[in-house]
C-alpha cells in the first residue's frame, strides 16, 4: 500500500478504491489537507498538509468518542437530578481538546474554564473520576468538593467557574515554565464571551512584555450563554485581538488542523518568540448549561446543520475510513468499548459514597495556625485536616 492517499471528494474512483482497500488491508499513514489557517502578524503558519498514522487515527477517534459519551452521560445524570447545580457540556468541541492534547509533551500544561470534563479525562482522569466529581462523590477527582466546573489533574490547573479569571493564571504558569527552564508551554483557554474580560488583555500584555511561552486559546463556539459573538464583541477576529501578539485562526472542528496549529504554537513558544493567540472556530451543540435549552437565541436548523456538515467526530470518521487508515469494524469495536466503559463509570458514579463531614474543613490552609475551624456547630468542633496530596508542589 502506498503510504499517502489524499482524500478529496468522494468521486467514483475514490469510492472504488476505498472498497478495494477495505477488502484487503488498511494503510498505516495518510495525508490530508486542512482548511487554510488565517494568520495575524505571522509570515508563515502551520502546514495545511498533515499526515496521520492509523494508530493516531484510532487514538483521536477514541478520545473524541469518549468525551462525547462522557458528556451525554453527564447530561443524563443531570436530568435524573443526580448531578446538581451546574453542568456545561463540551459536545461539538471535542476536536479542540483532542487536537491540542495530541501534541502536548510532559512539560506542557493547560488551564480552562468550566467546560472542563473532556480536558479532565484527556489529562489523565478516568471517566469515572470525572462523572463522580459531577455527582459529588468521593471518587471524584476533587473528592466531590468542586463538583461541576472544578476539576483538576497533573498539568491541568482547572476547571474554573469565574469567567476569564483563568487567563492570567495561564500567563503565570507560563512564566514559571520559563523560569524553571523546563521548556513547557501553557495553554490558557477561554471562550468568545470571556474574550471580553479585561483580565485577558492584562494577561496578553504581561505575556508579550516578558515573552512567555503561553498560548492563549480562544475557543470560539459562537455564543457566550445567550449572546452571539457578533453581539458581544466589537471584533470577532479573536485571533487578532492580541494586537501585538501573533495569532492563528484554525478550524476547531478538525482535530488534525488543531493538532497542526498547536504543534506550530508549541514550536513558536519554545523558540523564545513569546506568546501566541490561537482561535479555534467551533460549536457547542447543547445549551450553555443544562438549564439552557439552547434554542431561544439560535435556530434548531443551525445546530442541525453543524451536526450534519461539521461534526468533529463524524467528519473525522469519514476522513479516516475514506483514506483507508482504519476499517469500520475497528471503529465499531471502539464505539462499543467506549460505551461499555462509560456505562460502567455512570453506574459507579451513582453508587459511590460522599466524603465524610470531617473533610468540610479540609485543605483550607496548608498549615493552619488554628486547627479548629470557626463556625457554628451544635455537634462537635470541626478540625482542620490535610486531605489532598498537592500535585503541583513536589
Amino acid at each position: 500500500m502506498n503510504g499517502s492517499s489524499v482524500l478529496r471528494k468522494h468521486n467514483f474512483k475514490n469510492v472504488l478504491s476505498i472498497l478495494e482497500n477495505r477488502l484487503f488491508s488498511t494503510t498505516s499513514e495518510a495525508t490530508f489537507e486542512t482548511k487554510p489557517f488565517k494568520l495575524h502578524h505571522l509570515e508563515n503558519g502551520p502546514s495545511t498538509t498533515v499526515t496521520l498514522s492509523s494508530e493516531d487515527a484510532l487514538k483521536y477517534y477514541k478520545q473524541m468518542q469518549t468525551i462525547r459519551r462522557i458528556e451525554t452521560a453527564a447530561g443524563n445524570l443531570y436530568k435524573e437530578k443526580i448531578v446538581r447545580g451546574f453542568c456545561h457540556l463540551y459536545s461539538g468541541q471535542e476536536a479542540c481538546a483532542v487536537g491540542m492534547k495530541a501534541v502536548f509533551r510532559d512539560t506542557d500544561s493547560i488551564i480552562t474554564a468550566y467546560r472542563a470534563h473532556g480536558w479532565t479525562y484527556l489529562m489523565g482522569i478516568e471517566p469515572f473520576g470525572v462523572l463522580s466529581e459531577l455527582t459529588g462523590r468521593k471518587s471524584g477527582n476533587a473528592r466531590g468538593k468542586g463538583g461541576s466546573m472544578h476539576m483538576y489533574a497533573k498539568n491541568f490547573y482547572g476547571g474554573n467557574g469565574i469567567v476569564g479569571a483563568q487567563v492570567p493564571l495561564g500567563a503565570g504558569i507560563a512564566f514559571a515554565a520559563k523560569y524553571y527552564g523546563n521548556g513547557g508551554v501553557c495553554f490558557s483557554l477561554y471562550g468568545d464571551g470571556a474574550a471580553n474580560q479585561g483580565q485577558v488583555f492584562e494577561a496578553y500584555n504581561m505575556a508579550k512584555l516578558w515573552d512567555l511561552p503561553c498560548v492563549f486559546v480562544c475557543e470560539n463556539n459562537g455564543y457566550g450563554m445567550g449572546t452571539s459573538s457578533e453581539r458581544s464583541s466589537a471584533s470577532v477576529a479573536y485571533y487578532t485581538r492580541g494586537d501585538y501578539i501573533p495569532g492563528i485562526w484554525v478550524d476547531g472542528m478538525d482535530v488534525l488542523a488543531v493538532r497542526e496549529a498547536s504543534r506550530f504554537a508549541i514550536d513558536y513558544c519554545t523558540n523564545g518568540k513569546g506568546p501566541l493567540v490561537l482561535e479555534t472556530a467551533t460549536y457547542r451543540y447543547s445549551g450553555h448549561s443544562m438549564s439552557d435549552p439552547g434554542t431561544s437565541y439560535r435556530t434548531r436548523d443551525e445546530i442541525q446543520e453543524v451536526r450534519q456538515t461539521r461534526d468533529p467526530i463524524t467528519s473525522f470518521k469519514e476522513k479516516i475510513i475514506g483514506a483507508n487508515l482504519v476499517n469500520i469494524d475497528t471503529l465499531k469495536a471502539i464505539d462499543k468499548e467506549v460505551k461499555a466503559q462509560i456505562d460502567e463509570a455512570v453506574k459507579k458514579a451513582k453508587s459511590d459514597t460522599e466524603i465524610g463531614l470531617s473533610e468540610l474543613p479540609g485543605d483550607i490552609y496548608s498549615n493552619p495556625l488554628e486547627t479548629i475551624v470557626r463556625g457554628v456547630t451544635p455537634f462537635k468542633n470541626l478540625e482542620h485536616i490535610r486531605v489532598g496530596p498537592a500535585v503541583n508542589l513536589k
Binding site: 446538581r84 447545580g85 451546574f86 459529588g136 466531590g144 468538593k145 468542586g146 463538583g147 461541576s148 466546573m149 472544578h150 467557574g161 469565574i162 469567567v163 476569564g164 479569571a165 464571551g193 470571556a194 471580553n196 474580560q197 479585561g198 483580565q199 457566550g224 450563554m225 445567550g226 449572546t227 453581539r231 458581544s232 464583541s233 431561544s296 437565541y297 460522599e354 466524603i355 463531614l357 468540610l360 474543613p361 483550607i364 475551624v373 470557626r374 463556625g375 457554628v376 456547630t377 451544635p378 455537634f379 462537635k380 470541626l382
Partner: protein, 365 residues
C-alpha cells in the same frame, strides 16, 4: 428560665448530613401580611416583583436604562423579562461579559445624570468589579467635594444559597461591601419588600447594591401592590415582637429565624423578637439596640462565614450599647469559615436546628 431538654437532636446523629440532604430547601417561606389599604395587588413571586419595579422605573423615568449580561432576554433569573420589548434595546440591553466594565460604565452613566440599573448575573461574579464599587462608586461624591456623584447607580445581583450552587453560585458577600462608606446595601426578604426596596434604591441619591437572595425568586410569593411604592432604606423591620431574645437576620435567613421563633415558643415557651435588618449599610442600630435592651439577649444569623461577617459588626455594637442590659453573651449563628462547599451545603447553612440550639444555650446561660 429553665428549659428541659426535650430533644436529643443535638447528639450528633451519624447520618445527619444525608438526612439534611432530603430537605429541598432549608426554610419555609413566610408570606408578607400586607394591609389592604395598599391598593390593588397581584400575586407575584420575587422575580416578578422585581420586574414590576423595573417596569415602573423605565416607564416613568425616560432617563433610565437597564443593562447586564443577557438582560435583554430576561436575564438568567427572568427579572428583566419583556422589558426590552416594551422599552427598546437602547434602554434595556445586553452587555459583553465584563463585570468591571459593566459597573464602571454604570458609574459613568450615573455621574452623567442617567438612572443606571446594572445587573451582575451572580453576586459571586461581582468581585472583578470590586474596585469600581469600592473605590469609584463609593467615594465619588466624597472625593469630588460633592461636585459629582453616582447616586443614580443601582447594581442588582442574586446572592446566597440556592440548594446546589456550590462554590461560586452561593456566596453572600454583603459584608465585603459593608466596609465601604458611601454605598448603600440592601437585601430584601420577600417579593413585596423587593419591589418597594428596589424602587427606593433606584431613586436614592447614593449608589446602591441590591442583593437578591436567588432561592426566593420563585419561592417567595406575596400579594404585591401594582402601584409604585417605596420602602425606607436604613430601617429594620421588627417582624415578631418578643420578650426573651432578639433574633436578627436578613434575606433568606429571616425565614429560618421566623420558623425557629415558632419552634422556640412551642417547644420551650421562649418568646423571640425577630428583626429583619433589611439594609446592611447603613444599618438600623436604633431598632436593634432598642430590642436587645428589652430582651437582654441577641443572636445574629447569616449565611456568610463567621469571621468578618456583618454579624460581627452588629454584635460589637450591641455589646457597646446594651452592655448593662445583657443577660448572656451575644451569639452569631452563621456559615463556617470555609469556602461554600458543594457536597456539604445542608450542613454548612445556619439552619433552624443550629439557631434553636443557640437560643436554648443563651436563655439557659
Amino acid at each position: 428560665m429553665n428549659i428541659v431538654n426535650k430533644f436529643s437532636l443535638f447528639n450528633v446523629p451519624k447520618y445527619i448530613s444525608s438526612r439534611l440532604k432530603r430537605y429541598s430547601s432549608h426554610f419555609v417561606y413566610h408570606p408578607e401580611q400586607i394591609s389592604n389599604e395598599i391598593g390593588k395587588t397581584t400575586k407575584k413571586n420575587m422575580y416578578q416583583a422585581i420586574n414590576s419595579a423595573l417596569d415602573l422605573v423605565l416607564n416613568k423615568d425616560p432617563n433610565s436604562v437597564v443593562f447586564g449580561e443577557d438582560v435583554g432576554f430576561g436575564g438568567v433569573f427572568r427579572c428583566t423579562m419583556g422589558l426590552r420589548d416594551r422599552y427598546g434595546k437602547d434602554r434595556v440591553f445586553n452587555t459583553p461579559l465584563c463585570e468591571q466594565g459593566i459597573v464602571g460604565f454604570g458609574i459613568g452613566l450615573a455621574v452623567a445624570g442617567t438612572t443606571a440599573i446594572a445587573e451582575i448575573q451572580f453576586a459571586d461574579y461581582m468581585y472583578p468589579a470590586f474596585d469600581q464599587l469600592v473605590n469609584e462608586a463609593a467615594k465619588y461624591r466624597y472625593r469630588s467635594g460633592n461636585l459629582f456623584d453616582c447616586g443614580k447607580l443601582t447594581v442588582r445581583t442574586p446572592c446566597s444559597a440556592v440548594g446546589h450552587g456550590a462554590l461560586y453560585h452561593s456566596q453572600s458577600p454583603e459584608s465585603f461591601y459593608a466596609h465601604s462608606p458611601g454605598l448603600k446595601i440592601v437585601m430584601p426578604r420577600s417579593a413585596y419588600k423587593s419591589k418597594g426596596l428596589l424602587l427606593s434604591c433606584v431613586r436614592d441619591p447614593n449608589p446602591c447594591i441590591f442583593f437578591e437572595p436567588k432561592i426566593m425568586y420563585r419561592i417567595a410569593v406575596d400579594e404585591v401592590p401594582d402601584d409604585d411604592y417605596e420602602l425606607p432604606l436604613g430601617k429594620a423591620d421588627v417582624l415578631v415582637k418578643g420578650r426573651d431574645i432578639t433574633l436578627i437576620g436578613w434575606g433568606t435567613q429571616v425565614h429560618v429565624l421566623l420558623e425557629v421563633a415558632e419552634m422556640a415558643q412551642k417547644e420551650y415557651g421562649i418568646s423571640c423578637e425577630i428583626i429583619d435588618l433589611v439594609t446592611i449599610l447603613p444599618w438600623d442600630k436604633q431598632t436593634v439596640t432598642n430590642s436587645v435592651k428589652k430582651t437582654g439577649r441577641a443572636i445574629v444569623s447569616h449565611e456568610a462565614p463567621l469571621t468578618g461577617g456583618f454579624g460581627a459588626e452588629i454584635t460589637a455594637s450591641i455589646q457597646e450599647e446594651c452592655f448593662l442590659h445583657l443577660e448572656s453573651p451575644i451569639r452569631r449563628v452563621t456559615g463556617y469559615d470555609t469556602p461554600f462547599p458543594h457536597v456539604f451545603e445542608p450542613f454548612y447553612l445556619p439552619n433552624k436546628w443550629k439557631c434553636l440550639q443557640a437560643i436554648k444555650e443563651l436563655v439557659n446561660y
